[in-house]
């Protein structure tokens, strides 16, 4: 499954990274604690969070996440978007809460 599949299936907004939606997804990670994500997420994860600042992209890029999903209608800061464009990692968004979107992504990936 790649990022464009989940954009379609989960009806996600693409804030940036249109050109990189072919990135392959291997799993997911849900946390708003950055050191937790740094320590325990994996390459190819979709990271679900409510953090919107630039360090999110630094981490997503260092960990080589497939994409980031911002929950509850949160929008990325402008410098987050700029950084994401440089790194080629899509930032996606949903109005759903973390619990719902995580559950939906989980079932999708388990299929």
């Amino acid at each position: 499954m790649n990022v464009s599949d989940i954009v379609k299936e989960l009806d996600l907004t693409v804030f940036t990274g249109e050109d990189y939606l072919s990135r392959e997804i291997y799993g997911g990670y849900v946390s708003d604690l950055l050191s937790d994500v740094m320590g325990f997420s994996s390459e190819g994860d979709v990271w679900i969070t409510l953090q919107t600042h630039k360090n999110v992209m630094a981490i997503a890029s260092l960990k080589e996440h497939a994409a980031v999903i911002l929950v509850k209608g949160f929008k990325p800061d402008q410098d987050t978007i700029n950084h994401a464009a440089e790194e080629g990692i899509p930032i996606l968004g949903t109005h759903k809460k973390t619990f719902e979107i995580s559950g939906e992504l989980y079932s999708l990936l388990k299929k």
């Binding site: 050191s35 320590g39 969070t49 360090n55 260092l62």
Partner: protein, 137 residues
């Protein structure tokens, strides 16, 4: 091969730059991805700690055929009780830093887990020196 970076306390917008440069460098010399990942986690945590807890710092990276050694040296408040600071969950991060999602008290244990060797020296009211070493083979 040597690289050097400067970090200023409080400036989170630049956190991760050193890690990203080191990652590129290690990729270029064909270090195994697994090893690169470990170096990057340890270095990122060290970078962020200078941003979050110190006033300013410098990073000195040395790569030779067998290992990468990174010294992160800061001027700052220092750490009074290193054993306590190393415990997962211990954090003195400010509210502003916590709001960004830092301050879980996991950085130093991430560093310890991901470095092959790590040492931490600190003088209260002067600063802190972290050294991380990873073997490239």
């Amino acid at each position: 091969m040597k690289l050097e970076f400067a970090i200023s306390g409080g400036d989170f917008s630049r956190a991760g730059i050193a890690s990203s440069e080191v990652k590129k460098m290690l990729k270029k010399i064909n270090v195994e991805p697994k090893i690169i990942k470990r170096v990057v986690v340890a270095l990122y945590e060290a970078e962020v700690n200078v941003c979050a807890h110190a006033y300013k710092g410098n990073i000195f990276v040395e790569i030779d055929g067998t290992k990468i050694k990174i010294d992160i040296i800061d001027k700052g408040p220092g750490i009074e009780n290193i054993d306590e600071a190393m415990k997962e969950g211990y954090s003195t991060a400010s509210d502003a830093v916590r709001e960004m999602g830092f301050g879980a008290g996991m950085g130093l244990s991430n560093m310890k887990k991901n470095a092959d060797e790590m040492s931490l020296e600190s003088k209260v009211d002067e600063g802190t020196k972290v050294t991380i070493i990873n073997y490239l083979k």
